[in-house]
C-alpha cells in the first residue's frame, strides 16, 4: 500500500511546485545565496515539510478518520506563513554554511536558520489537495506505521519536482534576483494574510 504514496507524490508533484514553490523560491532569491546554500535552504524547507507530513500522517492514523482539520486553524496557519514571508522580505537570513562552535553557540547562531524549516512545516500543515489524497491513502493503510510510510513516499515523490528551484541562484545579476525575491515575499505575505483573515 505504501507505494501508493510515491505514485501520488509523483503525479501531483508539479502542483506542489505551484503551491509551495513560490515560498521557498522567494526565500532563496531574497537571500541570494550560492547554489550550495540554495540547496541547503531547500533541504531545510523540505525537512520542515516532511515533519508536517509525518505529523499529518500520525494524526490521521491516530484519529482514524475523525475530522481534525479546522478551517480556523488553517486560517491561522495562513496568517503565520504570511507573516513569515514578510519577515523574509525585511530580514536578511545568515548563510546556512556559517559554522558555530559548541552546542550553545551553534543553537544561537543557527536560531534564525530555524526560520526555513518552520516555514516548510507551517506551509505544509496547510492542507492542499495533494496532501488530502496522500492522507486518504495513508488512512487506508493497515497500520499507523504504514500510513506514515505512505506519507514519506508521497514526500519523496513530490519533492523531486522542487529540485530545480535553487538553480535560480545561478543567475548572475544577484541584486536583481534579491530584489525580485524581496518583492515576491511581500506579495505572497500579503496574499496569505488576506486569505487567512478571510478564513477566520
Amino acid at each position: 500500500m505504501t507505494i501508493e504514496g510515491l505514485i501520488i507524490g509523483l503525479s501531483v508533484g508539479a502542483s506542489c511546485v505551484a503551491s509551495c514553490g513560490p515560498l521557498i523560491m522567494s526565500v532563496i532569491m531574497k537571500n541570494s545565496p550560492t547554489p550550495s546554500d540554495a540547496y541547503s535552504y531547500l533541504g531545510r524547507f523540505m525537512a520542515g515539510r516532511l515533519m508536517a507530513y509525518l505529523a499529518i500522517a500520525a494524526v490521521t492514523g491516530l484519529m482514524r478518520g475523525c475530522q481534525w482539520q479546522s478551517a480556523k486553524v488553517m486560517a491561522v496557519m495562513s496568517i503565520a506563513v504570511g507573516v513569515m514571508m514578510i519577515v523574509n522580505a525585511l530580514v536578511k537570513l545568515p548563510s546556512y554554511c556559517a559554522k558555530g562552535v559548541g552546542v550553545k553557540t551553534y543553537i544561537r547562531s543557527h536560531a534564525p536558520m530555524m526560520y526555513v524549516p518552520a516555514l516548510g512545516f507551517i506551509s505544509s500543515i496547510n492542507i492542499c489537495p495533494p496532501v488530502i489524497a496522500a492522507a486518504t491513502a495513508s488512512l487506508n493503510a493497515p497500520s499507523t506505521a504504514q500510513g506514515i510510510g505512505t506519507f514519506v513516499l508521497f514526500f519523496i515523490g513530490s519533492s523531486i519536482y522542487m529540485l530545480p528551484l535553487p538553480l535560480i541562484s545561478l543567475f548572475e545579476d544577484k541584486e536583481a534576483i534579491r530584489t525580485i525575491g524581496r518583492f515576491m515575499s511581500w506579495i505572497i505575505g500579503v496574499m496569505f494574510i488576506v486569505k487567512g483573515l478571510i478564513g477566520l
Binding site: A14, S15, V17, A18, S19, G21, P22, M25, S26, A176, T179, I180, G181, F183, M184, W186, I187, I188, M191
Partner: protein, 375 residues
C-alpha cells in the same frame, strides 16, 4: 525640429523608405478586403492608412522615433478599446461577462494571460483560459502565434509597438510637462518579475488566470465581471483603483509608464525575450558624455546607473531621441557598434511597425467607423 543625427535628410528619400510600410499597412488594414465594402468603408480605410504612413514618414524624416510612435500607439490603444467594447456589445450585448460566458468559453484571449497559461499548460496539460482555442476574433492559438513570433523577433519591443493596452499609460505619462515626483525608485522595475513568477505559479496552483480575475486594470477599458455578488463587486473596485492608480495618476505625476514598468507580468515575460531578440538599444560608450538624459527620459526605468539599457527595455526609442550625441542607438547584436546605425534603426522599425499595424490597425479602422456612425 529635426533630429539631425537620424533624419533621412530629404522628403523624397523619406517617402521612398516609407513605401514598403505603405504596402504592408495597406495589405494589413484591408483585412482581406473586408474593410473595403462601401465608399465610406474605403474612405475610412484610406484615412487609417494615411495616419499610419504619415507617422512612419515623420519618424524617418524628422529622425524622431518615440514622438511619432507614441502618437500612433496611444491613439491606437484608445481606438482599440472603442472597437473591442463595441464588438462585445454586438456579440454579447454587454461589456461585462457572466459565469455563463466563462463556461461557454466566450472570452477573447488577451496576451497578458499568456504568462498564466504557459506553466499550467506545461505541467498540467491544461489551458486555463476560458477562450476558444481556434475560432473567434481573438482565439488562443492565433494570439499565441502572434505573441511568440513577434517576441522572438522584437523582444520586449511588443510593449511599445504591439500591445493594445500600453498606449494608455504611455499617453498619461506624457501629459504633464514636468514630473511632480522626480525620482522613482528604480528597484520597482523588478516588481513585475515578482508578479510574473507568483501569478504564473498561483494560476497553476488554482488552475485559474488569477491576475486577470483580480488584478488587471485594463479590464476597465475592455471587458469586466458583471457585478452579481460581493466578490465581483470587490473585483470591480480593485480594477478601478488599479486603473486610476497605475495607469492614470502615477504616470501623470512621474512621467513613467508605471503599470508597464512595475506591475504587468506580461512586461516581465516579454523582457525575457530581449535575451534572444537580435535587436536591442545600446549605449555606444565612446560617444557617451554621461549627461543622464537617456536615464531620466526612460519611461520603463530600464536604464541602469551605468547608463546601459537593461533587460526590460521596450525599444520605444525615447532615450535614443533624447541622447544629444547619438551614443544611445538601435543596434543589431553581433554587428560592430557605431556603424550602420541608420540601417539598424530601419531594420528594427519595419517589423516593429508592421506588428503595430497588424495587431491594432484593424481595430483602429473599426473604431473610426463606429465613431463616424455616432454622428
Amino acid at each position: 525640429m529635426k533630429n539631425k543625427l537620424y533624419s533621412t535628410g530629404n522628403v523624397l528619400r523619406s517617402i521612398l523608405l516609407t513605401l514598403p510600410m505603405t504596402l504592408i499597412s495597406m495589405m494589413m488594414l484591408s483585412q482581406g478586403g473586408q474593410a473595403l465594402g462601401t465608399l465610406e468603408d474605403t474612405c475610412v480605410y484610406l484615412a487609417a492608412c494615411a495616419i499610419y504612413n504619415i507617422a512612419f514618414f515623420l519618424m524617418l524624416y524628422k529622425g524622431e522615433i518615440d514622438k511619432w510612435r507614441a502618437v500612433v500607439f496611444a491613439t491606437s490603444a484608445v481606438l482599440f478599446s472603442v472597437s473591442f467594447m463595441n464588438n462585445l456589445i454586438e456579440l454579447r450585448g454587454s461589456v461585462t461577462y457572466s459565469d455563463a460566458d466563462v463556461l461557454s468559453c466566450e472570452i477573447p484571449f488577451c496576451h497578458i494571460v499568456t504568462t498564466m497559461v504557459v506553466i499550467p499548460a506545461a505541467i498540467k496539460q491544461t489551458i486555463i483560459f476560458p477562450g476558444s482555442i481556434m475560432t473567434g476574433f481573438a482565439s488562443i492559438s492565433a494570439m499565441f502565434v502572434i505573441i511568440f513570433g513577434s517576441s522572438i523577433i522584437l523582444g520586449r519591443g511588443f510593449c511599445s509597438w504591439g500591445c493594445f493596452y500600453g498606449g494608455w499609460d504611455d499617453a498619461f505619462s506624457r501629459v504633464a510637462k514636468n514630473p511632480i515626483i522626480k525620482k522613482v525608485n528604480v528597484a520597482y522595475r523588478w516588481f513585475s518579475f515578482a508578479m510574473l513568477i507568483i501569478m504564473a505559479l498561483w494560476s497553476a496552483a488554482t488552475l485559474a488566470p488569477e491576475y486577470c480575475s483580480w488584478l488587471c486594470p485594463f479590464k476597465l477599458v475592455t471587458e469586466r465581471d458583471a457585478i452579481v455578488d460581493t466578490e465581483t463587486l470587490l473585483k470591480n473596485v480593485v480594477m478601478v483603483i488599479l486603473f486610476l492608480g497605475l495607469v492614470v495618476v502615477l504616470p501623470l505625476i512621474t512621467k513613467k509608464r508605471i503599470q508597464c514598468a512595475t506591475f504587468c507580468p506580461m512586461g516581465a515575460f516579454e523582457s525575457l525575450f530581449n535575451k534572444i531578440s537580435i535587436f536591442h538599444v545600446k549605449n555606444n560608450e565612446s560617444k557617451c558624455i554621461k549627461c543622464g538624459k537617456c536615464q531620466r527620459s526612460c519611461p520603463l526605468l530600464a536604464i541602469d546607473s551605468k547608463l546601459k539599457p537593461l533587460i526590460n527595455c521596450s525599444k520605444c526609442g525615447k532615450c535614443v531621441d533624447a541622447c544629444p550625441t547619438g551614443a544611445m542607438q538601435f543596434h543589431i547584436k553581433g554587428t560592430p557598434v557605431g556603424t550602420k546605425i541608420t540601417t539598424a534603426r530601419l531594420l528594427f522599425l519595419y517589423p516593429a511597425y508592421t506588428l503595430m499595424v497588424t495587431l491594432i490597425g484593424g481595430s483602429v479602422v473599426n473604431a473610426i467607423k463606429i465613431i463616424i456612425n455616432l454622428f
